[in-house]
């Protein structure tokens, strides 16, 4: 049995939810990993391209779509999958509803995170569940794509659609040592002012992929 207990206690488990590497990115693995060869320097052409992408994303707010989350853990034979929908308002307020296989809804409004489950609603503070709170903060910031804001936590990399093929790819590596313990890097992929896919990779083999899909614009109105 002792060989089974070889697992080594890792530091904080808490923030761990924010990571993963997208399975589907496996297909375009070359492109996704290649993004980290293209750092974005302030004032450079890449920075301008990033601003263009950010503008497109912002212009599409409010945005609604379907979510599918796949959590790949080495200790699981199959990934854990959940599905739902989200709405992001222009002011950053976010609705995040999981419908399968269980119904749980989160909403982030004016910096306050609430969870609804079994008909009961509870407020979640950053100090009580920093990882969960951090996830939603990160998500809101991704759709905002403020380079300056991102730069204060991450090193930012970019492959434009022209370089990568169909989509642009943004890479983020955390600078904060605490974040580094739970998050190795983030890859965001999108096109036409929409984010299609976000991959959060943990140090090690485990990763999480979030897929976003959008109904036609007239339907979401």
């Amino acid at each position: 049995m002792s060989d089974l207990i070889e697992w080594r206690a890792r530091k904080s488990v808490v923030l761990a939810k924010v990571l993963g590497f997208c399975l589907c990115v496996w297909s375009c693995v070359g492109v996704a990993q290649g993004v980290f060869d293209h750092p974005v320097q302030a004032g450079s052409a890449e920075a301008e391209s990033l601003d263009v992408i950010a503008d497109e994303l912002r212009q599409n707010l409010p945005v609604s779509g379907a979510i599918k989350q796949q959590k790949h853990l080495a200790i699981l034979r199959e990934p854990m999958v959940s599905k739902g929908a989200f709405t992001l308002a222009a002011d950053g307020d976010l609705q995040w509803r999981i419908t399968e296989p269980f119904a749980v809804a989160y909403s982030m409004a004016a910096g306050e995170l609430t969870r609804e489950m079994d008909g009961k609603s509870e407020t979640i503070t950053a100090s009580a569940e920093p990882a969960l709170y951090g996830f939603f903060q990160l998500f809101g910031r991704l759709f905002d794509l403020s380079l300056q804001d991102l730069n204060s936590y991450f090193s930012v990399y970019l492959l434009t659609a022209a370089e990568a093929g169909e989509h642009w790819v943004i890479g983020l590596t955390p600078q904060d040592s605490r974040l580094q313990k739970v998050l190795s890097h983030i890859v965001v992929q999108g096109e036409d002012g929409m984010i299609d896919q976000v991959t959060l990779t943990e140090p090690g083999e485990d990763y999480t992929v979030l897929y976003f899909s959008y109904a036609a614009a007239d339907e979401t109105e």
């Binding site: 488990v13 989350q69 200790i75 699981l76 034979r77 854990m80 269980f102 503070t125 100090s127």
Partner: protein, 776 residues
Amino acid sequence: MNSLSLARRLSGFWLLVMLALMVWQLPKLALNSNILALFPDADSRSAETRVEQAFSARFERRVVLLFGADDEVLARKTLPFLTETLRQCDCFEVAAADSQVGLLDQFYRGHNASLLTKAWRDKLSNLTPNQLVDQAQRRLLTRPGGMSAQSLINDPLGSLSDFSRATAPSTNIRLDQAGNAYISLDERRYYVIPLELNGSPFNVSLQNRARKALARAASRWADLPGADVLKTGALFYTLAGTDQARQEISTVGAGSLLGIILLLLLVFRSPALLLLAFVPLITGVLAGLAVSALVFGAVHVMALVFGAALVGVAIDYSLHYFAARMATGRQWVVSEGSRRLLPPLVLGLATSVVGYLSFMAAGFPGFSQIAVVSSAGLVTALATVLFCYPSLLAKAPKRAMPTYLQRLVRGLSRAHEYILQPLARPGWLLLVLLLLIGWLSLAPTSDSIRQMQRPNPALVQMETRVRESLGAGAALQYVLLQAPSDTVLMHRLEKAAERLQTLQEASVLDGFDALTRVLPSPRQQQENRALWQSAVVDAGVLEELAQRLQLTDSAYQQMLDASATSNTITLKALQPVLMERPDLPLYFVEEGLHYSAISLTAPRELDTIKQALAGVEGVTLVDPVARTDRLLQHYRHSATGLLLLAYGVIALLLARRYGAPGALMVILPPALASAVSLALISALGQALNVFNMMALLLVLGIGIDYTLFLREAHSEQLGTRLAIGLSTLTTVLSFGLLALSATAAIHSFGLTVLIGILLAYFLAPLVVLARTTTKA
């Protein structure tokens, strides 16, 4: 060698020693303004002392700043400069808010079975295994961003992270997207910067550095639109206290100085004499501070007030000299005049010093300081007078005492004696004194520290506002638990916590913080493990969960192992974590006994809490405020006893020179003055306190000089009367102003001296009248 030249040589030697001491000690002078530092704290139980020291170290040094502004983005950009400014001052540590938070989580790992919250115990007892698996699966699957492998294995149901979360203190502090702590106050965001002082908030030099750093930070922030800074912490009270003391001392100092200058110019009409009068004052005050710094390290503000008040006593030595010289006029021969003044001056000094030093017998640190400051100051002042004046005042004055002044003094003296004559019956006076003392022993008294040291209301208001918005803070009262072992201690804590919980639900208090928050008792842990075994392991919850999630075999085994620990977590094992986390409840072992403290939030009915805890062994509700009040009462009693002792010792000293009845007549006027002034203050509706008693010591010291000089005056009545009259005026000028102080303690003191000295002056001629009456 005659006594005069001996006195001069001794004085010269003393002055040399004092000069050396001043050069050595004065540059490193430190001030203390805590009223309680005046009193010993020896009679509190050692465990209480330790708890309170830990509490005060925790609370006293804590400073919380809240910075609010209209523009959040601008505010966030300015914050780093703010912390940098504050960090630059070596007076602060910028407290790391959550650096130690992970410690407990690590400690708990592997103890899922032992550590269950009440909610989880209910769940495990009531839900079916299938429901438990469903809930666990839902938690793992629907979590945005998902769960890490480690948390899945180590805490499959999420019960441990719920327990861990419950150990965190409740707080309203939120984090913004950049991780800055803030609270919402009046619909505005205030960024929270917690700081820790690097020393006692009473340290004056630390206060000054902190004040500068805070001002720099505030001025930086003030540039933002809608800038607002809120602050809380003991530091701001001590800063206000120091400012107030400084301001009052300078008011009193300036007032008395101005009054004395005018008085001396008016009477003696000589700027040279005026300058000469201040030499002994300055040397006296400086020597008093230097000796006090040498003996005690820091000088208490109250002792400093006394030191400044030395002006009122030490000037008397000069006044007697000047008055004698002026009254003698052209016939002034310095050696003759000095010889006549020497006995009453030395006797006056001796009685004052004996009076002050008798207070040292009590061992009160504050009184000892006052005694040392005053004694050293007075001795030095007199030494200066004896050393310098004979050579500097050798020449007879150019002008004799003006006739109008002579008439005034004689007229006043006659009127004074005429009024006083009917009272000059020693037997009756003694009876009146005894009756007054008897009556005073029944007079209402006050020993409330809250009344004597009343904090600035604006600060209290701000503190309340900040406290309410930050979430509850601990009250001064706390519950102290004691037990022969850590296990028994945990069980007692659990019992006490249960009862407090009931009281909290009944709104008797807002909350409490016991060690049970972070560690269930051994019995509870055992019950938890039994529950876990039956409801989770035996019921197959983990197995079913592993199957549904398709956990690998090795991971399943790890999951089983992770919650299989059957050891009870002991307090001893937790102790290293507690050492690192001073925010957690206190636990310590002393002389084989185990102690812990439960802090209380907003306890409303202390008696109800006391009653509720009555049945639990080894538990006491400690109320430091009430205890301090009891201490003050004890000191009031002791001070009264010591004052009587001082009168007794002085009477014995004087009896050698004047005989018993003569000595009695010398001390009777100041004693009567003291008793009557207390009676007046009491009749004015003020409750008597320890500071009234301290003031009476000064009334004794100065008042007895009056009677001594009158007694020794023989044919030089005119000069003596003038000197005593002037002395009374200067004392009233220097102390009367203290009665205006906003600090109740200093006000009581000043008022007592004011009334006491006026009465002592008024009654002083009794010493002469009683003699003539007795002789007749």
